[in-house]
Symmetry: C2
C-alpha cells in the first residue's frame, strides 16, 4: 500500500474547488469596470497556514497585515479575502487600516476573529482601496460562498489583472490508501514582470497537519516553482503564496509534499504561459552543475535576460546571448565545459562547436514551446527554469497599464 | 595658479583626436557590409595603460588576450586594434589565436612587440573573425593613421554596432598652468542592453603618469559613469574600458582625475541617449541615502526596471513602479521615509502623499529628458544613474539583431 501511495498522483479538475472543506466566491465589486474583482475563500475548519511572501522592502499593506495575523493565528486560520484592481501598496497608514477593516468585515460575516482572516491585493500601486465597494463585494461574496469547480473558477477570475486565463491546478494523493486533494488558484503574468505586484497563489489541502511541516513543504515547493519563474530578491510589493491545511499536530506526508510541488509547478508554468505579450514558452534545463544553487542561478539568469527573450521572439538562434547571460551571474561557469541543446537536439558542443546550422537552429525556434538544455559540464546537479519571449506586445501592455 | 588649475575644465572637440600624440584610423574591412569596422589607435610614446573589463565569467578572446598583454606591457603599451561586426566571444582556442594574430600584425606594422598591442571586438557572439578581412583592414588602417578630429570620428564610427551616432568626448585640464587634454571614444547602446557585448571605451591623455594612479582614476571614474548605466555583475563578454597616458613614474594630478570623470560621464550618457529604440532619457538622482553604495544600488535598480522603462515610454506616471524597483534590491529602503520629485517638482511626499495630480505628472513625462529625484530620507549620501525608456523598437531591434 505504501508504495502505491508514493506513486499515485492524479491530476483533478477544479483547483481550490477540488479540496473538500473549502468554500469560495468571486464577485464584481466595481473596483474594476465589469470584471470580477473580489474573491473570498472560507474554510469549514480552522487551518494551519504557511506563507511565502515578497522580499521587497516596500511591502503592500495586505502583506504587512496578513503577516501580523499569521503571527497570532497561523494555526487557526479561517478565511482569505483578495481583491484585484488595486494593490493597496504605498498607501501608508490608511492602507493598513483598510486592510485590517477588510479582514474584520469578513471575520464578522464568518463568525471568526479578524486575525483569522488573511488579506491580499493586486493591481496598481499607490492607490487606496475604494472601501465602500470592497465592503459591498465582501458581502456579496459571502452570500455566494460555495464549494466546487464553478466557485473556484469565479475566485480565480476575481484575482486576475492582466492575466488572460484563470489559473487552477489540483492533484489527488493517497495516504494509507485514503484519498486527499491539494488544489490551488493563482494569478500572475509571469516572470516577465517580476516586480509588478502580480504573483499570488492560494493553495489548500484536506490532510490535517501542523504549521511547521506545511511551511517546510511550501518553501521547498516554491523554490522549485514560483522562484524559478522569477528573480530572487526581485519580488513585487504584493507577492504572496499562502497554503492551508486543517489544523492538527501531524507531520506532512511525503505524498502531500509531492502533490503540493505538482500544483505549484502547474500554477507557475501557467503564469509563464500567460506571460504578458508572450508568443513562446521557454524551458531551460541546466544540468551537470556543481550544486542546485548554481543550476538555479544559471537557469534564472537565462530566463530573465531581455536579450535571450527578444532573440526568442525573433526566432534568432543567437546562442551567444544564452551563454553570456549564464556567465553574467557569477555562478561559476567554466568557459570550456558547457554545451547547449535545443528541443533535445545537440546545438553547440563543448568548445563552442556549432552542431546545428543556423537554418536548422532557426527551424527549432519556430516552435511555440522551446526547451533549451544547458549542460555546465561541472558536476551532477540540475535545475529547471521557465520563461517566455519578450514581444512588442509586452511593451504595449506595460506602457499603458493604467490607461 | 593652483586654484585656477583646479577649476578650469574646458570641453573640447574631437574625442581621442584632441589628445596630442595619438594617431587613429577607422576603415571598412568587410566584416560588416559597407560600414567602417576596423579601428586602429597608435601612440607615439609608450603608454601606461589601465583597464576595467567585464566581470562576466564567459570572457571574449580579446578580453583574455588583452589581459595577458597588459600583465607584461601595462607600462609600455603602443596601440589598440578594435573591430566591430564580430565579438570573437565563445570562439574557443581559435578565437584566442585570432586575437593574438591581430595584435601581432598591428605590432609588426608599428615596429612594436605583440604584447604592446591591445585588442577589442564587438558584435555577434559565437562567430569567428574573418581573419583575411581583419588583416586587410589593419593594413589599410595603418596606412591611414592620422591625428586629429577626422581620424577620431572614423575610429569612433568603426567600433559602432547598433549605435546610431559615434561617441566622442574630450576635456582640457591644467596642471601648473600647462594645458593637457583627456579624450576618448566609446560605443554602446546603453544600459538597456547590459549583456550585449556592446560597451567599449578608449580614453587617453597626454599628461605622463604611472600605471597605478591611472588605474585608480579609471576605476573611480567608471564607478560613477559606465557602472551607473549598467548592472554590476551583468557586464557582457566583451565590455572593456582602456585608459592610456604616456608612461612615467608620476602620480595623477587632481585636475586629470576630474577631467577623466567628465569624459567618462559624457561617453556614458551618450550611450544611454543612443539606447536601442530609446525615445526618452531618464536621470535618477538618489539623495539622502545612508551610503554611496546604497544610493548607487537604488539608482541602478530604478534605471534597470523594465516596468519603470515601459511606463516611461507610455508617459504613464506610475510612480509605484519606481518605488517597487527601489525596494527590490535589499538596499535598505525605509517604507515611510522616501519622497519623489519629477523634473524638480515635488511628486510624491513622505507617507506616499501624491503632490501632483495624475494629469500634472503625465505632462511632466511628455518631456524627452526626465529627471526623477528619489530622496530616501535616511542619510546624507547621493548617487545618479542614467537610463532610457523601453520601446517597441527595442524589441524589434533585438529580435532581429543578426538578420
Amino acid at each position: 500500500m505504501l508504495l502505491d501511495d508514493e506513486v499515485r498522483l492524479v491530476e483533478v479538475r477544479g483547483g481550490l474547488g477540488a479540496v473538500p472543506g473549502v468554500r469560495m466566491a468571486g464577485v464584481h465589486a466595481g473596483i474594476k469596470p465589469r470584471k470580477r474583482d473580489v474573491a473570498l475563500i472560507a474554510f469549514d475548519e480552522a487551518q494551519s497556514c504557511a506563507a511565502v511572501t515578497t522580499t521587497n522592502e516596500i511591502k503592500a499593506a495586505p502583506i504587512v497585515v496578513s503577516a501580523a495575523h499569521l503571527a497570532v493565528a497561523g494555526a487557526d486560520m479561517r478565511a482569505l479575502v483578495c481583491n484585484s484592481g488595486c494593490a493597496n501598496a504605498c498607501t501608508g497608514e490608511r492602507g493598513e487600516r483598510d486592510a485590517r477593516a477588510t479582514a474584520r468585515q469578513a471575520a464578522t460575516l464568518l463568525g471568526a476573529r479578524a486575525e483569522q482572516v488573511l488579506v491580499a491585493s493586486t493591481g496598481v500601486i499607490g492607490v487606496t482601496l475604494p472601501m465602500d465597494r470592497v465592503q459591498r463585494g465582501i458581502e456579496r461574496a459571502h452570500a455566494q460562498l460555495e464549494s466546487g469547480v464553478k466557485a473556484s473558477h469565479d475566485a480565480a477570475e476575481a484575482i486576475m489583472t492582466t492575466d488572460r486565463v484563470p489559473k487552477l491546478a489540483a492533484y489527488a494523493y493517497y495516504v494509507e490508501g485514503k484519498k486527499y486533494v491539494v488544489g490551488g488558484i493563482a494569478k500572475g503574468s509571469g516572470m516577465i514582470a517580476p516586480n509588478m505586484a502580480t504573483m499570488l497563489a492560494f493553495v489548500a489541502t484536506d490532510f490535517p497537519m501542523a504549521h511547521a511541516p506545511l511551511q517546510r513543504a511550501l518553501t521547498a515547493a516554491t523554490d522549485e516553482s514560483f522562484n524559478m519563474i522569477s528573480v530572487d530578491g526581485d519580488m513585487s510589493t504584493n507577492d504572496a503564496i499562502y497554503a492551508f491545511a486543517p489544523a492538527s499536530d501531524a507531520p506532512a506526508p511525503g505524498a502531500f509534499v509531492r502533490a503540493l510541488r505538482a500544483v505549484c509547478l502547474d500554477l507557475a508554468r501557467a503564469m509563464v504561459a500567460d506571460g504578458e505579450g508572450a508568443t513562446k514558452r521557454l524551458t531551460v534545463n541546466v544540468t551537470s552543475a556543481a550544486s542546485v544553487t548554481q543550476a538555479r542561478a544559471v537557469a534564472r539568469a537565462v530566463i530573465n535576460s531581455n536579450l535571450v527573450k527578444t532573440a526568442l521572439y525573433g526566432e534568432d538562434p543567437n546562442w551567444g546571448r544564452i551563454i553570456a547571460a549564464a556567465g553574467s551571474v557569477g555562478a561559476g561557469m567554466r568557459p570550456d565545459a558547457w554545451s547547449l541543446a535545443i528541443n533535445g537536439t545537440p546545438w553547440v558542443g563543448r568548445g563552442a562547436i556549432e552542431l546545428l546550422s543556423e537554418a536548422e537552429a532557426h527551424r527549432e525556434l519556430e516552435a511555440s514551446e522551446i526547451v533549451v538544455g544547458l549542460d555546465l559540464g561541472i558536476g551532477a546537479e540540475h535545475a529547471t527554469g521557465w520563461g517566455c519571449d519578450l514581444s512588442k506586445d509586452y511593451v504595449r501592455i506595460n506602457a499603458s497599464y493604467r490607461t
